[in-house]
């Protein structure tokens, strides 16, 4: 299309509407104005060459290096992370093992203590039993003695009492006969 001043001043009336506009502005599409192709192509080629050299010499190798470096870092970091993870797992296993050991030891100590206590208890119980048995036997013996002596005393008292009663009744007491009779009575 024509320059601004041209359109504005010269052909204002026809340029306003319709087909006259196309006629007024020389080549309708600036793209098809071949007079400026040489200029555009010249600058385009320069642009492309500049971009190509900037990219191939500076930018692309640098970005490739950065990407490779990052890939390396990531690989290393992953390896390191795996290593750490393995160590952590090992530590956990060791900890668990220690825990199990400690628990087993504690169990053993408890069992031992329990056994010892049981043994002591048993011994004490046995001792107590024997003592008690001895005491009981002693007591029985004492009781038996007491009873024997009591029976003897009762016999003696009974004989005396019988002689006295016989005497009091006026009979002539034969001491031996009375004693025999009392003894028989008590026994029988």
């Amino acid at each position: 299309m024509a320059t601004d001043t041209h359109a504005a001043t010269g052909h204002e009336a026809e340029a306003a509407h319709g087909a006259a506009e196309a006629a007024a502005s020389a080549p309708g599409m600036p793209q098809l104005d071949f007079s400026n192709w040489g200029n555009q192509i010249f600058w385009l080629l320069i642009t492309l060459v500049v971009i190509y050299f900037v990219l191939s010499r500076i930018a692309l190798p640098r970005i490739a290096a950065v990407l490779a470096e990052r890939q390396g870092t990531i690989t290393n970091d992953i390896a390191a992370a795996e290593d750490l993870k393995r160590q952590a797992v090992e530590a956990e296993e060791a900890y668990n093992k220690a825990l199990v050991d400690a628990r087993a030891e504690a169990q053993a100590i408890i069992a031992q203590n329990k056994a010892e206590m049981q043994a002591e208890l048993d011994a004490a119980l046995a001792k107590a039993d024997t003592e008690i048995a001895a005491k009981a036997a002693e007591s029985e013996k004492a009781i038996a003695e007491i009873r024997a002596s009591a029976v003897e005393s009762v016999e003696a008292v009974a004989k005396e009492a019988a002689q006295e009663i016989v005497a009091a009744l006026g009979g002539k007491a034969d001491a031996a006969a009375v004693a025999d009779a009392v003894t028989n009575r008590i026994k029988g």
Binding site: G18, A19, A20, A22, A23, P27, G28, L32
Partner: protein
């Protein structure tokens, strides 16, 4: 008169853009249908999708170009 005929011609040429739209829609729609059937293969075919769209669209652009030529260059 001739200029007005050219404008009518430009309008007719613009119909081609609609045809190109149908073509692009076909390509994209069929791609989507295929991609939903087999989503795992879809990612590898996006380049083909764009090439197909580009070819379909180029013809529409040709008709647009014809319209422009009729409007401004005839």
């Amino acid at each position: 008169m001739e200029g007005q005929l050219a404008h009518i011609g430009a309008g007719l040429a613009a119909i081609g853009s609609g045809a190109a739209a149908i073509g692009v829609g076909n390509v994209a729609g069929n791609f989507l249908a295929g991609a939903l059937r087999n989503p795992s293969a879809a990612a590898s075919q996006t380049a083909t999708l764009f090439i197909g769209i580009a070819f379909a669209e180029a013809l529409g652009i040709f008709s647009f170009l014809v319209a422009l030529l009729l409007m401004f260059a005839v």
